[in-house]
């Protein structure tokens, strides 16, 4: 018995729409098996993961808060991936954005700096993220160095740099030697939408980003170029589209968005700079981008779903002592199923039972 792929005459639109749902379904089935292996009641675990967080207002807000960086980063990554440029260092760009924005917050601490502080932080963070993403992009375009490896290496560098700052020059002198800056001043903090709640201005910004990306991809020539360069490089060359320039552009945009997400996270829910500000947002955003089929609206939905798994994972850990790593396994398996189901859009899967005679005749 053998699995054979047969190319479809044209890509299947129906499957393109339902494939993420099939993938989620298959992942949940796999998780049930994994929970059973771990000796946990699968139904209770699924409830803790996917239902419980949806039943109280605090968790719902928390999901939106967690989805904010995921969606923002994933939108940028989707532009890269559409243009066939592989930025996988968003985690590093996120950290550098957080560091750059925090610089203003740290320098203006305790002064009577006005309302310009937060906007300046956001702008600087986006610029720093973009510049940091331009390193692998330029290495790729100018020297042909694999952007996959260089962008990833820079994640470790950014992580160490942040670690140095909060243990060294930026450490809060009254922080009992903890590696953290002092709490940011109110003017350097992302305002909350509801007093006493968790939702903050970042959630509005991310919606604007989604809308902007939808317009860019659906309504502009640049968006068309990005899609053509990725899908049909030869056609793009004949059309006179410069693939190199698009690599630079998409890396810069995705770096800027990742940097922006970084400072919003630090100046928002966290409130100060410290190590471990990201539970792997930059990597989870890769899953979000693919689960959302590299489409802005799809990414919004996918980001909310992945955020749900983060919150659900925390609740499952507290309620049922399910290790947090299960969430990572869940996310990894989900990406596998998403990719496998995507293959269904282009190919038909057929099980072939080799017939001896045919094999001899053909071989």
């Amino acid at each position: 018995m053998q699995l054979v792929l047969e190319k479809r005459a044209e890509r299947s639109g129906t499957i393109a729409l339902v494939s993420p749902l099939i993938a989620v379904g298959l992942t949940i089935v796999t998780m049930v098996i994994l929970f059973a292996i771990l000796g946990k009641n699968p139904l209770l675990a699924l409830h803790a993961y996917f239902i419980a967080p949806l039943t109280d207002g605090y968790s719902l807000q928390e999901i939106a808060v967690k989805a904010t960086p995921l969606v923002m980063i994933a939108i940028g990554l989707s532009l890269c991936y559409l243009a066939n440029a592989w930025n996988i260092g968003a985690e590093g760009q996120f950290l550098i954005g957080a560091v750059a924005g925090s610089w203003i917050a740290v320098r203006t601490q305790g002064t009577d700096a006005g309302a310009w502080v937060l906007p300046a932080m956001l702008v600087l963070a986006a610029a720093a993220g973009a510049l940091y993403a331009l390193i692998p992009a330029i290495c790729k375009v100018k020297f042909g160095a694999s952007e996959i490896l260089t962008s990833l290496m820079l994640v470790y560098v950014a992580d160490l740099f942040l670690d140095y700052l909060v243990r060294g020059p930026w450490r809060d002198p009254h922080g009992f030697n903890f590696p953290t800056t002092a709490e940011f001043d109110p003017v350097a903090t992302v305002p909350l939408l509801i007093e006493g709640g968790r939702l903050h201005l970042g959630s509005i910004i991310v919606l604007l980003v989604v809308a902007a990306a939808a317009i860019l991809l659906g309504r502009t020539i640049k968006g068309f170029e990005i899609r053509v360069v990725g899908a049909a490089p030869r056609a793009a060359r004949f059309g006179g589209f410069k693939a190199d320039r698009l690599i630079i552009l998409t890396f810069a945009i995705s770096g800027a968005l990742a940097g922006l997400a970084g400072i919003i996270e630090v100046a928002g829910p966290i409130g100060h700079l410290q190590p471990g500000i990201s539970p792997g947002y930059g990597f989870t955003a890769i899953i979000v981008a693919f689960l959302g089929r590299l489409n802005p609206l799809g990414i919004l939905v996918a980001g909310l779903f992945l955020a749900l798994t983060f919150i659900g994972g925390e609740q499952a850990q507290i309620a049922m002592k399910i290790p947090l790593d299960v969430t990572k396994v869940f996310q990894g398996i989900l990406l596998f199923y998403v990719l496998a189901c995507d293959s269904l859009i282009l190919y038909r899967f057929k099980l072939v039972f080799p017939n001896r005679q045919v094999a001899r005749g053909a071989g």
């Binding site: 560098v157 990572k328 990406l335």
Partner: protein
């Protein structure tokens, strides 16, 4: 004298996991498959290797556990990237994300435990020769295996018919298929070999490098191994050189931290990663004329039957 010997020994120890993992990936890539999941296979190999050694009390069994874990991970990749013709870059990333989660899950019960690390060879007389004695005759088994592995791979790729066929699959899968070679089966074996090596390289870390398991202990070594394959221009000889150079950079920064050079330790720790970026740029620029990469590297192949 003693210091020089100690440095050489520590460079060898730091280089060995890179060399083993990169050798496996080199074979995989020579067959035309880009498996970016080396880091994921390594970290699962580390967790399973430690679990195996702790449960059985034997480093050898632990290493076998690591290898098997690496192969199982690579089979997931093969099913996706070869069986279902999924984009290899995305599949490799997925494998790494999955591996990091799995290793945390498997290793959670073993954090804080210790094992007796791999024994070092001791030949009375030979091992006691100053300077070179311990370097040549006093290593642990992994170091000798890594050397044997590279030599074996070189011999296989350039001196056997099977190696020639494997390289043909990597350079032009359509031609290899037309000649009647089972491209996908050959690539599956190459991916499995890469997985076995990555698993072994991962297992080396808790079994010989440090005698305990820490989550995330591979710390990007799988990615550096991938960069080494590029550095080597897909040739085993240059791979050895590259792996030892990187080991040397790692050890240099550790020693520099120890000597209290006035540079913050984080900057020194960033050196291997920065060196990787610089080397990739230099190497890629050097061959701007034409690439030495296998021509079909990373491309999807679906046989038309």
């Amino acid at each position: 004298m003693e210091l020089v010997e100690a440095i050489i020994l520590s460079v060898l120890a730091a280089s060995t996991p890179l060399l083993i993992a990169a050798t496996g990936e080199l074979v995989t890539e020579r067959s035309g498959v880009l498996n970016l999941g080396v880091e994921g296979m390594m970290i699962v190999g580390a967790a399973c290797g430690f679990a195996g050694a702790w449960l059985s009390g034997s480093v050898f069994i632990g290493a076998l556990f690591g290898i098997v874990a690496g192969v199982l991970m690579s089979l997931v990749f093969a099913l996706m990237a070869l069986g279902l013709a999924v984009n290899q870059v995305a599949t490799g990333l997925a494998l790494t994300i999955l591996g990091v989660g799995l290793s945390g899950l498997i290793g959670a019960g073993f954090v804080g435990e210790r094992i007796t690390p791999a024994v070092h060879l001791h030949i009375p007389g030979a091992t006691d020769i100053p300077l070179i004695g311990r370097v040549l005759f006093g290593e642990d088994g992994f170091v000798y295996v890594s050397i044997a592995l590279v030599v074996g791979v070189w011999w296989f790729l350039y001196r056997t018919r099977a190696g020639l066929i494997l390289r043909a699959c990597g350079d032009n899968h359509a031609s290899a298929h037309a000649l009647g070679y089972p491209v996908l089966r050959i690539r599956t074996f190459a991916v499995m070999f890469g997985g076995a090596c990555a698993g072994l390289a991962g297992a080396y870390l808790p079994l010989a490098y440090t005698p305990f398991f820490v989550p995330g202990m591979t710390a990007g070594r799988g990615w550096i191994a991938l960069a080494l394959v590029v550095f080597s221009s897909w040739r085993p000889g240059r791979l050895v050189l590259g792996a030892y150079l990187f080991g040397a950079v790692t050890i240099l920064q550790l020693h520099a931290q120890g000597w209290g050079v006035g540079i913050p330790s984080q900057f020194m720790s960033a050196l291997p990663y920065l060196a990787t970026v610089v080397v990739l740029v230099l190497i890629s620029r050097e061959r701007s004329g034409g690439s030495t990469a296998p021509a079909a590297l990373g491309t999807v192949f679906v046989p038309d039957c």
